[in-house]
Symmetry: C2
Amino acid sequence: MNETRSSLCNARLTYSPKLPFALREGANRVRIEKGHATSPVSNEDQISKLFPVTCGAPVVHMERNDATLSKPLKVGVLLSGGQAPGGHNVISGIFDGVKSIRNDSRVIGFLNGPSGLIEGDFREITSDFLSDFRNVGGFDIIGSGRTKIETDEQFAKCAETVRSAQLDCVFIIGGDDSNTNAALLAEYFVANDVFCSVIGCPKTIDGDLKNYYIETPFGFDTASKTYAQLIGNIARDANSAKKYWHFIKIMGRSASHIGLEVGLQTQPNICLISEEVESKGMTLAQVVTQFADVVEARATSGKNFGIAIIPEGLLEFIPEFKKLIAELNDGLVELVDELEELPQIHDKVIRICDYLSPKSSNLLADLPSTIQMQLLLERDPHGNVQVSLIETEKLLIELVDNELRHRPSYTGKFKAIAHFFGYEGRCAHPSNFDSDYAYSLGYSASILAKGGFTGYMASISNLADGVDNWQACGIPTSMLMTIERRHGKDKPVIQKALVDLDGKAFLQFKSKRDKWAISESYIYPGSIQYYGPPELSDSVTQTLKIDAQARQIKQLQAK
Amino acid sequence: MNETRSSLCNARLTYSPKLPFALREGANRVRIEKGHATSPVSNEDQISKLFPVTCGAPVVHMERNDATLSKPLKVGVLLSGGQAPGGHNVISGIFDGVKSIRNDSRVIGFLNGPSGLIEGDFREITSDFLSDFRNVGGFDIIGSGRTKIETDEQFAKCAETVRSAQLDCVFIIGGDDSNTNAALLAEYFVANDVFCSVIGCPKTIDGDLKNYYIETPFGFDTASKTYAQLIGNIARDANSAKKYWHFIKIMGRSASHIGLEVGLQTQPNICLISEEVESKGMTLAQVVTQFADVVEARATSGKNFGIAIIPEGLLEFIPEFKKLIAELNDGLVELVDELEELPQIHDKVIRICDYLSPKSSNLLADLPSTIQMQLLLERDPHGNVQVSLIETEKLLIELVDNELRHRPSYTGKFKAIAHFFGYEGRCAHPSNFDSDYAYSLGYSASILAKGGFTGYMASISNLADGVDNWQACGIPTSMLMTIERRHGKDKPVIQKALVDLDGKAFLQFKSKRDKWAISESYIYPGSIQYYGPPELSDSVTQTLKIDAQARQIKQLQAK
């Protein structure tokens, strides 16, 4: 091992990501075919006013073509929001794409996220510089940030940056909000004669940016496999030691796609899906009862151990808890002075319970004191309760333990250990799938830029069918839009794709979970393999595989 | 993917572990050469009385031989204590070893640890049954347990079991205590005409069972690489987002070998080694100051992020904390009734502080209230404080945060996230190194059994030099022994091997850590690779490599 890089890093840097067939001879040998016109998810009237250029624009497909000549491009790229494995590959795909157009094309990278574009803070990305980042994890090549580009003033500053840097295109690699803002920026540039296109690359490790053309976000494969590795290892430990329950909270606040995927990959005893909890309108007590029932059923057969997976966002999907949070947010502001004068947390709870609706009051009063403290004391700069800081996995352990103690029928031993996995997966070295996918996304983005498209997102579809059959496309971002009321205003937003409770992936999980609950059907995926037989090194996620099968069946039925 | 096994599991089941040259033609083609006589680490007089048969017995080396004929063996095996990757391979090595002696040899597995031997609870291990467990993680093949075989009554019950099952040998795969008891059992069997040998296989993932012939425990390679994977991923996340400190507690209570190894593998900003903290006699406040100094130095260059590694056993290596725990253990027993009558934790702390020595009293009073609660409320069945339950990583975050708030010179932002990694690595699928090493250990153990050795442990040495050069040996367990006073009695124990502060591995780490503290020298090892180029799939740990180099230099100097 040299002192600056691991052996695996060194090996990955020399990996050649695979491209869809149409792109393999370079961007100049790609023809863009216009497909069907699109429409937003809903609120077409409002969306078309906000996105006059791109609303209703067609989906485009990329096909192999004869060689053409082109002028060089100068493009900029930025990373927005949380890390996802493959970010470096999107950038190397863009780089190799524009270089395949003309070798004197240039790429700059905006530093530390959207603020780099606003402030004109960037660095040139050269082949040499890039060579240290190909096929490895992280967003450290140019950094990321969470600044939102949404005000007219910010748009104007972006225009200034791209004009002074003479850019032909800006690529924004980000999640739903970043892509919404990218589409608005594209419209602003057109309306203000800034001759620079804006292309989005969908990045959301939670998996909530999804439609027919975005089958999965890049990084989801790697992150879910990393979490599944850890869960599998813990499950094997539980099944060997036979004395602990492990309550494992897993990344995914706004949707439970990761939870569902790792559930399918590891077959735990319990795996909650937030969307189902919400659709059933479950109370916290009902969730706890569901856990305790499984713990008791296993204890009856002498099994005082098990694995439970809890999606990070669970509490916000429990209707009564959501209501409690909303009431607390109001109450904590209204009673701020009164509460400050009460030194003991116990007294604060009594005072605020008096303020809350009876149901919320009961819910709060029944929570363990550690959670009460978190709810009342840790607030964000706007004074709001920080739901993301609540240790849901520990809350559930405490509540389940308490419920079991009150069950005369329960005679087992409940010892539980809490885990939370999030940061462990976001910067893993991308799997071959994610390396190929992210690289292909970047490469197609460069072709959209060459074609002068703006307000589009790059897309690669048919992902479960092997790289040779991948389809490179572009879709107008407005196609994913709807209108939502936020802070009293109608705002265009990308519709969040939640776990589809009628979808095949969830139904398959649902049909098996009762068996998994009482047995030890654990699967131990082990660590991501980048080499070796293709069934190890090139596998896709369960969700992607099941979705693809469902799609095929639908297409066959339609014929 | 089939529904019962992952692709990687399927692939691993067909892996052929590599054996040292001398063993490759089977146990009947191995000659055992007696080497130098041994002596215990210290207290030879007492040890020789306790181990009359094996004390002073020679080290033995295994060499290739002409074919010999042998009678079949019937042997039993058990797993004791916490899981370590490779446990299944020790068993398959034993199985293949005794089967290579005669195909009608038989192996039984005692269920759920030492209690299976005491109670005569076992199952036959057949080739078919074993085929589901080769080269995969876990101890689930026959389960493990923590019962200690130490009383005469237990010895007698073990004798009954081996007599009734007509065993030629019992293999005990376990840590220091299990191997001590295995050696005592061996002596008991000899003294009581039980014609069954007892062979130990060293298993201790913490790495504290180590001498010239036990260069590393099996499983250490896999576990430390798994933790290093996670730390590397988190380091890359920190280096991309640039806003969090991650305080990562890492397995290793009685020694910091894992901490040192993952430190060398990932090059974090801070990596504490318990042994050093103890040898310097550091106070908790000094440890906190050391952390705060690095956080402040980084903040001065605008870096409000970093990675800190904390060994699980840290608090027990801080002399004043050890003293506090000892005093608390006495006080909590003495004041039990008084304390119970005080309902508020605050009042309990005041009362117990009054009991403690002034120094301990100050230390306790300065701890965060959550930690005070853990110390006073969570006690084991003997009424002792449960040090292992203390969330050291959170304690340090709170104390460092507090210290920084009181430093006028500090103007950074300190946001820290706590992690603990232990269960994530103990049942990982063993790396090729651990698969080969554990299998070879088991195989040599079978050869020791064939040779009629008892009170011996299997050993494979020269591990950093490639399997072709591995040396299969056997050593009398008494060679590792010393006498320790426990609960007022002189007891034979295996001397714990702590991190050697004069050893090359620690010195190398020490020479670099100041640079690592302020820079981002992070290395991102990524996940364990079982396939691909040998530098990825067959690498050894940093500690093993550095130790081997040091040994070579020593041998050259001796010439």
